[in-house]
Assembly symmetry: C2
Homo-oligomer: 558 residues x 2
């Protein structure tokens, strides 16, 4: 039998009308704003009305450090949601929206895979319900108002050289990374160095994903620092009176998007902050709404657990008052072998020795998750090339480290292939073991927060930083920002800052290159390497092979 | 009694579910893709299935040259649609979508006014169904692919100095008009002069509005000229293989948006090409679909009849094979007085002499519309300050010129105030008088086409152009583009190219400054003055006063 592609499986799905999916959660049709027949936004009034209800249980799906072999974090998140529903739990999946730009670079979607997908996958990967376009518009309105303010006399005395607010576009467009704008004479304003990031890197996106409601959203937008005056005092978005109009543009984008899995279970696909310079999680409003409506909420966090889970716990859970009940660390035999030194081309061959060596990476993540007081289980996302010996080796390793590793076949079999994991997750969550605590207290000084993450999570020996960086952190502490969490920006491929060091390195140095204050989102970004905030397209972008076929279906996107 | 604002009236409207509006047109629910409960897109399959049906009658609403006094072209278009429904005709309104950017500059919406509006007006004026965001994305994908092609070796030998394809954003942002992009070193590409236009000025927008279906859309996108090689030969979007992915991004945007008027009559709000460097009409697909579904279709064209009606007839009707049955020229007493020399501050005072002088502008437009073989009636859009003597003077003037001027009170009274106009329009349309012909044949040389429009419509004495412009037109004729219509770009305030000359000037000179080939849209843009393709914000933009109130309603947008 030929293996079906993700898109073939998705198109063959028997979708239910979105109002039916909403009804299973108790959302009346008038509180769903439909987008087509298979997508809907949940209205603010309905969400506000759930306030008094008891929360369901929150499960985080995270992973080992990503490798080119693929781990399947989203696929496992979707699969586990289906699995929990299969064993009789009312479970809701909460994942991030996909960015448009990268779709045209390298082929691939962000809606799961195989028989564990959210649908309609084409829409989810393209414009969806327009949330990212709204973020782009709100971000760029603020940018236009900054240059307009300067043009008309610059009453606020904004220093042209210190405007930190760039523009954004949901496109991979390296030509926009660095530019000089406002050329062409008096009518076009004052020339200055400028540039674009991709929309998911916008602080507006991070704000949308951390705001609890529209009021909180507007307050956070007002808190954005757009740059500095000549006397180095910050200038806020509210000084430009941009916050109100930005909130208006984001009014609908703030509402969670409801879709369904291939098995007709509910999923909130909402928000998409870059896991790099932001916290990389599904929106707080979606997760909190799901907790009111379901027994179980399964959510994921961007990249491996060193970045994704740490930020999920220390930023999202801390800020939103969430208390996760259990965590799943996803691993694949292939990715563990790569962590153990096997090259991508050699992955098909059995190699238990390398696998066991690579398991050190998994073990470190397991121990790290436990530092937050959350019980953990390992999901082995099954690939056809995995051998019995290899699977047994992973299970043995994990057992030695006091946890269980469960083989999951959701990619090939849907919920039927992930029942064991679902039962185990329920057991852990209902055991009452969880004692969630963030890694550090709000009151810890900023630099010390960085050191705590570096030593406890990365197992680094030292954090280094120039005097300018340290001084900047002290200035922010004096200005009242010392209580913010730190949002680490580090390569996702390693516990260290060197993407080539796989496994579980110890005693390495974490050099902090730069710090940035996201005063609206409410965190201090700590940059420990090169950060790409605007990707480029490859030599032969996938856009060249994307088209509408004779039946009007999209080809080449997946 | 206090006069209600447009937004108060709109919010008090008794909206019907959009599926009910669709049902009145015979569109089954499964062929409508809803966006919320009050907006929907009509599916391509349904539209294709209407092909064999008889067309309804097509009515164009156009106007005298606009003045700061306001004419109410959209308001009258909506009012006439309601009026036709009131007298028992199944009438559908076809208007353009609103651009987001200008909403944040100067207060004001684009969905009609008073008791002649399309709703939901907030949505229509903001993101609506995301069409403009899709146009922005498709346009900028092509731009990114151009710079990416150059970055990876420039196999097509595109001349960096001759890239004509800019980027777009739906924002008033003067800082982006002129810039140098790809700065910052090797990784960011080759620096070049670049810039952004507002999204409505994109050729992609014009293409969307002229394409008959998705196949035609993709073909036109492929025909876009993005710039020239060093040997001056054109480079097309299809050379970059961008057309397929652009069509995918525009798949949903191509489908007409169905909304309703305050009186629950159907309206297609679709497409929004700049009336300046494009043709400024509702989309061909919306207009043609409406003609299949209604007895009457009322549509409008941007600016005064010298620009809007001429381009509607010579571009949209010519290309789409449409045959308008009647036209309405909208005038107001106030605007006619301004055409007669009255200043804005003096408009409240009765001034019949100035009014009669200003009627020359109206008379010229009446005669012009008849040159296309279309019977015409004048709608006097009533303002409270109008005196009986003034109204009588307009009616007398129009009667002397062989037509009828009908007083319309739709702004204050809705359809009840516009019955007379509705009956007159039916009389004209059903008289069979219409003998529509474009002003010139396809085969006429390009420069001669310009001269024909200038002499017959503008009553100009001469068209002047540099040798470079004339040579360019000849080159395009040699390349096979000689059969295209011309798309005039001229000030909307005057028949001449001087915005200060009101009334009906004669014998003036039309200097052609520049010509541009829109090979995808299928016309040659003829620029006869300064064209602003990216507006700026005013000193105190309305964005500063837009916010969400305690009830979650938008304040300050209208």
């Amino acid at each position: 039998m030929a293996i079906k592609s993700d898109i073939e499986i998705a198109r063959a799905a028997m979708k239910k009308p979105i109002f039916e999916i909403g009804a299973t959660l108790g959302i009346p049709a008038e509180h769903l704003a439909p987008y087509g027949h298979d997508k809907a936004k949940v209205r603010a009034q309905f969400i506000a009305a759930q306030a008094g209800k008891k929360d369901g249980r929150l499960i985080l799906v995270t992973a080992i450090n990503p490798t080119p072999a693929g781990e399947g974090k989203t696929t496992t998140t979707v699969g586990l949601g289906d699995g929990l529903n299969r064993i009789g739990k009312k479970a809701i999946i909460c994942i991030r929206e996909a960015s448009l730009g990268p779709c045209f670079g390298v082929k691939g979607g962000a809606a799961g895979g195989g028989y564990a997908q959210v649908i309609p996958m084409e829409d989810i990967n393209l414009h969806f319900t327009g949330d990212f376009h709204a973020v782009t518009a709100a971000h760029n309105l603020l940018a236009a108002m900054i240059d307009n303010h300067i043009y008309w006399g610059n009453e606020l005395d904004i220093d042209l050289r210190r405007v930190t607010w760039r523009r954004v576009m949901d496109m991979n467009d390296r030509a926009l990374r660095e530019m000089v704008s406002s050329l062409g004479g008096v009518a076009n304003g004052f020339p200055r160095q400028n540039g674009f990031d991709i929309t998911v890197a916008s602080e507006v996106m991070a704000i949308l994903c951390l705001a609890t409601d529209l009021k909180d959203l507007e307050a956070r937008l007002g808190n954005i620092i757009i740059g500095y005056r000549r006397d180095k005092m910050p200038v806020y978005a509210r000084d430009l009176k941009a916050d109100g109009a930005m909130a208006v543009l984001l009014k609908d984008a703030m509402q969670p998007n409801l879709v369904q899995t291939l098995e007709n279970n509910p999923a909130f696909v909402h928000g998409g902050p870059f896991a790099n310079i932001a916290h990389g999680c599904n929106s707080v409003i979606a997760t909190k709404t799901a907790l009111k409506l379901g027994d179980y909420v399964v959510t994921e966090a961007g990249f491996g657990a060193d970045l994704g889970a740490e930020k999920f716990f220390d930023i999202k859970c801390r800020k939103a008052g969430l208390k996760p009940d259990a965590a799943v660390v996803v691993a694949t035999v292939r990715a563990l072998k790569m962590n153990g030194g096997v090259k991508k081309d050699d992955l098909a061959a059995e190699n238990v020795a390398a696998l066991v060596k690579g398991c050190a990476n998994l073990g470190r993540h397991l121990a790290n998750v436990r530092k937050f007081g959350v019980p953990v289980v390992v999901a082995i996302n099954h690939f056809v090339s995995d051998t019995d010996k290899e699977i047994a080796a992973v299970q043995e390793y994990v057992a030695r480290h006091g946890a269980e590793a469960i083989l999951c076949r959701h990619w090939a079999e849907g919920s039927a292939g992930i029942e064991d994991l679902a039962y185990k997750v329920v057991e852990l969550a209902e055991s009452g073991q969880a004692r969630f605590e963030p890694l550090y207290a709000d009151s810890v000084p900023l630099f010390e927060k960085i050191e705590i993450v570096a030593s406890k999570i990365y197992h680094a020996g030292e954090v280094t930083a120039d005097k300018a960086v340290r001084d900047q952190l002290i200035v922010w502490e004096e200005q009242g920002y010392g209580n913010l969490p730190v949002c680490m920006a580090k390569t996702q491929y390693s516990f260290s800052t060197d993407p080539n060091i796989r496994g579980a390195p110890e005693g390495h140095i974490v050099p902090v290159r730069e710090v940035r204050l996201s005063a609206g989102a409410g965190f201090v970004v700590v940059i420990t390497g090169e950060i790409m905030t605007m990707p480029g397209l490859p030599r032969s972008p996938s856009a060249e092979r994307i088209f509408l076929n004779e039946q009007g279906y999209i080809e080449g996107l997946f």
